[in-house]
Every structure is written in structure tokens, then in C-alpha cells.
């Protein structure tokens, strides 16, 4: 293992931190529900912050403004309605334009349609990891939340593997690298940048900014391994 590398289970801490952050981000970019708000409870948030610091990313964090934004609403319902409005505007259907369609095919493929070439590729990689799309997901496989969750899953599975150097761990590790370099890392920066630039809401601007910083960090570190 190379120094500072993180792709195998031998370097658990940054790996755990990455898995944690990817998982948090996948929840942040899912349709807002009560669970999302709970992620900003102090204990859950601390889990995220620890992972963040662990990767040496603490200097640029501004998550307080997201937390404060959530806190200003009189009820969870009120906050969720606002979040839902912005989520719909950013990612679903909007007047005058969806800000950041959350599908890789619209960033990586030439056709400007969903279920493009890149969608099929990621869906095959999910299959290679033994996963199918959840029957309750009701969305397209290359949705940003799915891709973030998948990355988190791949890392967590490597960590759970009894034998860090087993062929399973190796397989998962190479799957992760391939997935990130060929897919997620290729479009996530553009996606998160659009949200940062165009979201009128502190909450999404902040978490998209976090996501962008993290993905940039991840791209840099992956390229060193």
C-alpha cells in the first residue's frame, strides 16, 4: 500500500471518512424528508464533521449556515416545504429551468436524454457489485444520490471484508476506482458547481459547496494512488 493511499481496507480511517461523507451526501441529495433534517441533529452531524476533519478538510467548512438555516423554521413541515420547493426547482421540474438535472447522462453523453450510454454503464457496475435498483427508488440509475450511495457502499464493503487483501476486497476496490474515474468524478464537479452557483437557498448552496470541495479532494487523492 502506498503512503496516504486509501483505496484498500488497510487504511481504514480515511476510507471510513470517505464512506461516511459519500453516504451523507447521497442523503443530502435525495428528496428532502424527515431523515434529512435528522442528519443535522448534533450527534449525526458530528459523525459527518468528524469524517470531514479526518480528511483534513475542516478549514473550508461552512455547515453551520445550513444548520442555522434549518433552525430558523418554526416546524419541520415548514422547513421541508421550503427544501422541497428548492429541491424540485434544482433537480426535478422548474420554472424557468431545472438548475442541475441530477443524471450523469446529461453531463457525459451527447444525446441530452436520460438513460444514456453512461446510465447503462453505471447500471452494469451496480450489477457487478451485486446490487440492483431498489424497487422503491423510482428513479434512473445514474441519479446523483444513487451514484453517491453506491460509492459509499463500495468503500463500506471493502471495510467490512474480513481479509483486507482478499480478492473480494481487491475487486471492490478496483470497481470503486473504475466507477469514480469513469463516472462520478467526471460529472459531479460540474453538477455541484451548478447548484452552488444557482441555488438561491443557503441550505443547498452550502451542502453543494461541501460536496464540491469533497469531490475535488477525492479526485486529487484518487489520482495519487
Amino acid at each position: 500500500m502506498t503512503d496516504g493511499g486509501y483505496t484498500g481496507a488497510l487504511n481504514e480511517e480515511p476510507a471510513i471518512a470517505r464512506a461516511v461523507i459519500y453516504r451523507f451526501l447521497s442523503r443530502y441529495f435525495s428528496h428532502p424528508d424527515r431523515e434529512l433534517i435528522e442528519l443535522f441533529d448534533s450527534a449525526r452531524l458530528e459523525e459527518f464533521l468528524q469524517a470531514w476533519r479526518c480528511l483534513g478538510l475542516e478549514s473550508s467548512i461552512d455547515i453551520d449556515s445550513a444548520t442555522n438555516w434549518l433552525a430558523k423554521w418554526p416546524s419541520q413541515e415548514a422547513a421541508l416545504l421550503e427544501l422541497g420547493k428548492e429541491y424540485t426547482r434544482l433537480f426535478v421540474t422548474a420554472y424557468p429551468k431545472v438548475v442541475a438535472p441530477p443524471y450523469s447522462s446529461l453531463y457525459l453523453d451527447s444525446e441530452q436524454l436520460v438513460w444514456g450510454k453512461s446510465t447503462a454503464e453505471v447500471a452494469r457496475l451496480y450489477g457487478a457489485a451485486g446490487l440492483g435498483m431498489n424497487g422503491n427508488f423510482h428513479d434512473i440509475p445514474d441519479h446523483i444520490a444513487a451514484e453517491l450511495e453506491f460509492t459509499s457502499y463500495l468503500i463500506a464493503e471493502q471495510l467490512k471484508s474480513d481479509e483486507p487483501c482478499s480478492s473480494l476486497a481487491e475487486q471492490l476496490s478496483s470497481l470503486e476506482k473504475r466507477f469514480l474515474t469513469e463516472h462520478l468524478h467526471r460529472w459531479a464537479p460540474a453538477f455541484f458547481s451548478r447548484v452552488v452557483e444557482c441555488s438561491a437557498m443557503t441550505f443547498y448552496r452550502v451542502i453543494a459547496d461541501l460536496a464540491r470541495q469533497f469531490i475535488e479532494w477525492d479526485i486529487t487523492h484518487l489520482s495519487r494512488t
Binding site: 471510513i16 464512506a19 461516511v20 468528524q50 479526518c54 426535478v92 420554472y95 447500471a123 435498483m133 471495510l159
Partner: protein, 744 residues
């Protein structure tokens, strides 16, 4: 803040002995994925699916090729001999790009900005189906409790599930677009021939003479008509087209006669005069299958070729010659479908319809080879037979579009788009309060700004559609409609039904959370506390297959098609009071309408203020806005033009591609580029329909051209009543208006 690695490990639960307990977030279940195949949504990577095209109602059999998990290619199902005959048209071939269009509606949405309008951001927020249904149920029930069931407006098609919803609610207001499309045909056929709807089946292939009045189905890429037309042509049929402009059909004809708009009736009446007076009609057929011939013969004597020539600007000798050719080159037919001259374009279009049916009867072109056949649909139980229901008694039968004043049109209960805006705005005979529109756009209405204004007055409005179009801009709740390529089940042939045919649908499943209309109706009924009216679609389809004597298995193993293929045996009885084709219609007479086709002028003629007839064209690659957001099709014509004769253009000093302004008595005007062509009468201008989208959420469709509807008149019920005698269908007379031009 400094946090040591040890702290993190501790917090993260990493034991010092090497065993790893992962942070709790990673213990949570996966949301997007399932590890157990039973809980996951299988992806079909590669398969050939049977489908029946859902872009237009010709329902051509299709093969949809799935590769890499998506439909990559569509072609015709060669086993479908009635629809595409192994081919798809440009619309069918493009359907998959609509399926995968990122602009589509994906989830139910609700409006958070109460202000509705063109420039208002609705502030959509994604909601669950439960919330959508429960809101609709509550709002509809509140309106019913307070104002009665008639306060519910349903802008939907006259299909069985739509009608079930209407009857379960108990509102008379089920309103479709047919008054702008084909209601004249429906009522004339009902009165004179069928007692029900019109014939949608023509044996063009075996016809030797096609006499067309504005009929341009080959130019609409409707395949069963296109193939019949091409085969007739190959068989040496003569094709004569009366049309003020050179349509695609006219361009492929033997003879194009640029008739003055709205005078086709005069020509047909004079032709009947010739055919009868010269004894060229089919005497045996007339004797055996028709009644009222003598009255018709006497009646048309007044319509001489010279008289018709003056009105129509078609030379009398051509009228005479073509009448003789039509009667002696058999089989001959006057093909019709929708929005041709006898569609509801002009005030006299119904009379033209009557005249055309009579003229077809004169040459024996109904229920004979080379002519019209009544549709041979499979025997199948109706929805009400399958799921009998006790509908509430409808206490209020007056309708907001005024159609109750036209009993024959009202029998079809199809409604009238062009009268709706004035009905809503006037509050006569009462106010409608809540509404639902399914797959209809405000841009399909004449003078769309008025319907926008009218629909804005509703307290609550639901829209079901594929796209966030202009109608959605007025909605409180938007529900995503399923695309036909996502749907599974069966489709029964409705058009060109030479024999009964049922086709298999194998869908790819909803990409997001769209639902089919049947499920949506069920959801609304449940939420309204009317679950007894719900219908189990799967079981209904099974029952219908059983009625036809087939099964889903059979369809799967037999090219996706069941049919009872045989040459049609001609019917000898018709569903009129006399059981014959009534050339003199007792049904029309009974309701106080003219029983014989009689000459009437259209409403409007050119004046010095508005000197030009306006015509519109529907493009072969469009269909009710369903393909308007497709990039590739949009490239074919990014904006529409105003077609005009070179002399007309010279009058204004307008050159090709320069802007002109067309002004209408509706008070609206359009700025539009000129296209100069010899293919149109100098007193006419024409533009393409399907442009001028202003919904900002359809990114390809929006902008680009203008909406023809702004020049076209919405109607007031008083106008329809004035011509009651010859207007039983209550058509919109949608092109019965003239416009003015000036250079922009």
C-alpha cells in the same frame, strides 16, 4: 479545530483490535439499491418488445428494441397489416426520445405560488401520490358539497375511463376537442348511417377514384391512410384534390383544384345534381340500401354547376367532368378523417359532411370494396358491463359549453372546446369551480389567451400530462402521465378496423413515478370516497381477451397481435330508424335540423378590413404537442411561416423570410415570417400549427414561431344557436375567419 485520528477512530467505532464497527450512518439501509433480487427493479438489458404506437390513434404495431437497458430503435411490426404494415412513421420512430426526455413530468407536483399566469413561477414542489389524490379528493368533494357535481369540469377525451369518472362524479361537463376536429363527421354519420359514431375505416387500396376535399391524411403520415393511398396510386387510381393550397396529398394527385375556402359544399351539391340528373348513380345500391333518394334528387336540382362555379371559382366544366368521372370510375370514394373541409372548419362543414355521405351513397361507396366500411371491432364487454356501477343521477344536465342545447352533438357527449372559455367566463348556465385536464394544452384551443383567462378563474385545477406545458402553468396539482412505451397491456384497434385486431403492449415500466390514466382515475375515485367505481384494468383486459377468444399468452407467442382476419362481409342494414342509409335524414328532421344537405355560406368572407382567408396546417411530425419538445423534429422546422402567394407578398413588399403581421378580428395579431409559394390561392394565407409554446419548462419547444390559435375565434353559444338548422354538431368553425396583413 483539531481532532486526532484516534478521536475519529473512537467516534467511528473502530476497535483497536482491528475489528471494525462502522459509523451508524453506514448501517442504514441502502435507499437506491437492493441486494435481494426480490426487492430490486430488474433492468431489461436486451429484448425486443411488442408495442402499439400511442402517438396517434392509428396504433401501428411496433417492435421496440431494447439494448443497454433502453429502447434504442423502433420499427414497425410486420404482423400488423392494418396499421403500419411493418413500418413506423416519423412520429412513432421518434417516440423513444420523448420517453427519455429530461423535461418530462416525473412526479406529482403542487403549486406553492397561488398566482397563475404566463409569467408566474408556479413554485412547484414534488409531492407524493397520496398527497395529490387526497388533495384532489378533498377539493372536488368540497366543490360538490357546496355547488353541486356540475361545478366539476373535466377536460378529457370521451374514452370509457374518462366517462366513468364523469358519471361517478355526476357532472355533465366532460369536454373534449372534437368540435375543432371531427364532430361534424360523427354526427352526420350517426344521423344518416350508423346511429353511433362515424366510420374510421376506408378501403382506399381498392378504390379507383379518390375525390378529396381538404383531406390530407397521407400528408399527416397516418400510416393506414398513407399506405392505402399509395397502393391506390400504384393500382392506377385517379386522385383529385380540392384544397385552397397545395397540400402534400394535392402534390401527389392527378389534379389539384385550388377551391375557395368553405365552398366545397357548393361543388359537392352540384356534382350530385349532375350524377343524379344524368342517371350515373348506382341504381341498385340506392334502391337496396338507402331511403330519401327522390327527395335528395329534387332538392339538388337547384344546385347547378354554373351556380357552384361562381361560388367556388372552380370552372363548371370541371365540376361536371369530375362528377361524371367519380360516378363512372368505380369504386370511388370521398376520403375523410379529421379537420378536412367537412371537419368542423366552417359554419357549413356539417352540411358538407351530409352531402359527402350522400354522394358516397350515390356511387355505392359505403360497405362495399373500395369504399367506407363500418368498423369491425372485436366483441368485448364495455367497462360498465365488466364492472356494473350505480351512478348517481345527474340532476344538472345543462353544460358549461352549452352542448346540451344541441341534442345530437350531446348524444356523443364529447364537448366543445371552442365554446368553453365563454361558458366559464360568463358563468352561464352556472359557474364551474374545480377542474381536471388530461393531455390537452391551452394552445389547442382557438384564441388560447381566453381559455387561459377562463381556467385561471377555477378555484382548483388538476393537469395530467407528459410535459410541464402551458396547461400545467394553470394547475394547482400536476400529475405525470405514463408514456406509451412505459405501458403494458393491450390495445384494441380503433382506426382502419377492416377486421378485429388486438395488440400487445410490452412496456419498459415507469422511469419515475408516472401513472397510467386508469390508475389515476382509480386514485381520484378512491380519494373522493367512491371506491365502488374503481376498475381493475388488468382483469378488464383479461376479460376482453377472453371475449375475443384469445389470451395474453397467445399474443406473446404470435407476433404480439391477435386478429380475426377476413375480408369484410358487407352489411345490409344500418342503424337508422329505417335501417337504411338515410339520404333524407329523419333523425336530423326530428331534432329540427335540415334533413337534406343544403347550401349555406360560411360565417365570414373577406372584407376590406380583413381581406385574407386563413388556413392552418398540422405537420406530419407533430401530434397534439406530444413531440414538440424533441430536438431532432424541431430542427425540421424551428419556426412556422405564413405561406402566401407571390402577388400577395408583392402587395406588401414582403420578401421570403421577412416578417409580416397578421391581424385577426379576435383582437390578436401574430408577427411571423413570410414564405412565398405558388402553392396557395392569392386570397389565402396559411400557417403551421404547433408553435408558439410559452411554457418555460419545455426547453426545446418554447419560443420559435407563433401560435396559430391566436388568429382563430373562440365561439359564443349564440353563434351556434343562430345556425342551429344546419349545425347539429355544434362545430367550432375554427377556420371561419379572415385576417389582415401588414409588413412588420
Amino acid at each position: 479545530m483539531e481532532l486526532s485520528r484516534r478521536d475519529f477512530l473512537k467516534a467511528a467505532g473502530v476497535g483497536t483490535a482491528g475489528a471494525i464497527v462502522l459509523p451508524s450512518i453506514l448501517d442504514g439501509k441502502l435507499k437506491a439499491f437492493a441486494r435481494e433480487p426480490s426487492k430490486s427493479q430488474p433492468i431489461v438489458w436486451e429484448k425486443t418488445l411488442y408495442q402499439s404506437c400511442g402517438v396517434c390513434d392509428n396504433t401501428c404495431g411496433m417492435l421496440a428494441y431494447v439494448k443497454d437497458g433502453r429502447i434504442k430503435w423502433i420499427e414497425g411490426n410486420p404482423a400488423d397489416a392494418l396499421g403500419g404494415e411493418g413500418k413506423v412513421c416519423v412520429k412513432g420512430a421518434s417516440a423513444m426520445r420523448v420517453l427519455y426526455d429530461p423535461d418530462r413530468l416525473k412526479w406529482p407536483l403542487k403549486r406553492t405560488n397561488p398566482k397563475k399566469g404566463k409569467e408566474e413561477n408556479p413554485g412547484w414542489v414534488k409531492i407524493t401520490w397520496e398527497e395529490a389524490f387526497s388533495t384532489i379528493g378533498t377539493k372536488f368533494n368540497e366543490a360538490i358539497d357546496k355547488y353541486g357535481p356540475e361545478s366539476v369540469l373535466l377536460i378529457v377525451r370521451p374514452k370509457e375511463q374518462d366517462t366513468r369518472l364523469q358519471k361517478a362524479i355526476g357532472t355533465p361537463n366532460q369536454i373534449a376537442h372534437v368540435d375543432t376536429c371531427y364532430i361534424t363527421h360523427e354526427v352526420a354519420w350517426m344521423a344518416m348511417v350508423t346511429g353511433g359514431g362515424r366510420s374510421w375505416t376506408m378501403d382506399l387500396e381498392n378504390a379507383k377514384y379518390l375525390l378529396c376535399f381538404g383531406w390530407d391524411q397521407p400528408g399527416k403520415s397516418m400510416q393506414s391512410h398513407l399506405h392505402g393511398f399509395m397502393k391506390a396510386k400504384d393500382n392506377g387510381a385517379k386522385i383529385v384534390v380540392f384544397d385552397p393550397r397545395m397540400s402534400i396529398t394535392a402534390s401527389r394527385s392527378n389534379e389539384w383544384i385550388p377551391i375557395k375556402p368553405g365552398t366545397d359544399l357548393a361543388v359537392v351539391l352540384a356534382m350530385m345534381n349532375i350524377i343524379i340528373s344524368e342517371g350515373l348513380y348506382d341504381k341498385e345500391y340506392i334502391a337496396q340500401y338507402t331511403t330519401g333518394f327522390d327527395k335528395l334528387a329534387e332538392h339538388v336540382k337547384q344546385y347547378t354547376p354554373d351556380w357552384a362555379a361562381q361560388l367556388s371559382e372552380v370552372p363548371a366544366q370541371d365540376i361536371i367532368r369530375i362528377a361524371r368521372e367519380f360516378a363512372t370510375t368505380k369504386p370511388s370514394i370521398i376520403p375523410t378523417h379529421k379537420r378536412d373541409a367537412s371537419g368542423p372548419l366552417y359554419a357549413n362543414s356539417f352540411s358538407l359532411c351530409q352531402a359527402q355521405i350522400a354522394m358516397c351513397a350515390l356511387v355505392g361507396a359505403i360497405e362495399k370494396p373500395g369504399g367506407y366500411y363500418l368498423d369491425r371491432k372485436p366483441k368485448a364487454r364495455t367497462m360498465d358491463e365488466f364492472a356494473p356501477a350505480q351512478y348517481p343521477t345527474m340532476k344538472e344536465t345543462r353544460r358549461v359549453d352549452g352542448q346540451h342545447l344541441f341534442p345530437l352533438a350531446n348524444k356523443k357527449r364529447k364537448g366543445a372546446f371552442s365554446y368553453l372559455a365563454q361558458g366559464i367566463l360568463s358563468g352561464e348556465p352556472y359557474k364551474v369551480r374545480v377542474g381536471l385536464a388530461k393531455a390537452y394544452n391551452v394552445l389547442s384551443f382557438p384564441n388560447p389567451d381566453t381559455i387561459v383567462e377562463a381556467l385561471r378563474t377555477l378555484d382548483f385545477f388538476v393537469v395530467v400530462d407528459l410535459y410541464p406545458n402551458e396547461m400545467c402553468q394553470l394547475a394547482d396539482i400536476v400529475l405525470p402521465d405514463v408514456h406509451f412505451l412505459e405501458k403494458s397491456g393491450i390495445e384494441t384497434r380503433e382506426y382502419h378496423v377492416m377486421w378485429p385486431q388486438i395488440m400487445l403492449r410490452q412496456g419498459v415500466g415507469a422511469l419515475w413515478e408516472e401513472k397510467g390514466w386508469g390508475s389515476i382515475v382509480n386514485g381520484i375515485l378512491e380519494a373522493m370516497g367512491k371506491p365502488e367505481f374503481k376498475v381493475d384494468w388488468t382483469k378488464l383486459e383479461e376479460a376482453r381477451l377472453q371475449d375475443a377468444g384469445t389470451t395474453m399468452e397467445y399474443l406473446k407467442n404470435n407476433n404480439g397481435i391477435w386478429e380475426d382476419r377476413k375480408d369484410p362481409v358487407s352489411k345490409t342494414e344500418f342503424s337508422t330508424p329505417s335501417k337504411k342509409i338515410e339520404l333524407y335524414s329523419t333523425v336530423l328532421e326530428k331534432e329540427g335540423h335540415e334533413p337534406l344537405p343544403t347550401w349555406h355560406e360560411r360565417f365570414t368572407q373577406p372584407t376590406s378590413q380583413y381581406p385574407y382567408y386563413i388556413l392552418t396546417e398540422h405537420l406530419p411530425w407533430q401530434r397534439m404537442g406530444r413531440l414538440s419538445n424533441d430536438r431532432i423534429l424541431r430542427e425540421l422546422l424551428p419556426e412556422n411561416f405564413l405561406h402566401m402567394d407571390p402577388d400577395t407578398a408583392d402587395k406588401f413588399g414582403v420578401k421570403e423570410g421577412e416578417f409580416v403581421i397578421a391581424e385577426s378580428p379576435t383582437g390578436e395579431s401574430l408577427k411571423i415570417r413570410a414564405h412565398i409559394t405558388k402553392g396557395i390561392r392569392p386570397d389565402c394565407v396559411m400557417t403551421e400549427h404547433g408553435f408558439g409554446y410559452w411554457s418555460k419548462d419545455m426547453h426545446v419547444a418554447q419560443g420559435g414561431g407563433t401560435c396559430d390559435g391566436h388568429l382563430l375565434p373562440e365561439r359564443r353559444i349564440e353563434e351556434a344557436k343562430k345556425i342551429y338548422a344546419y349545425n347539429p354538431a355544434m362545430g367550432s368553425a375554427i377556420l371561419d375567419i379572415c385576417v389582415n396583413l401588414r409588413k412588420a
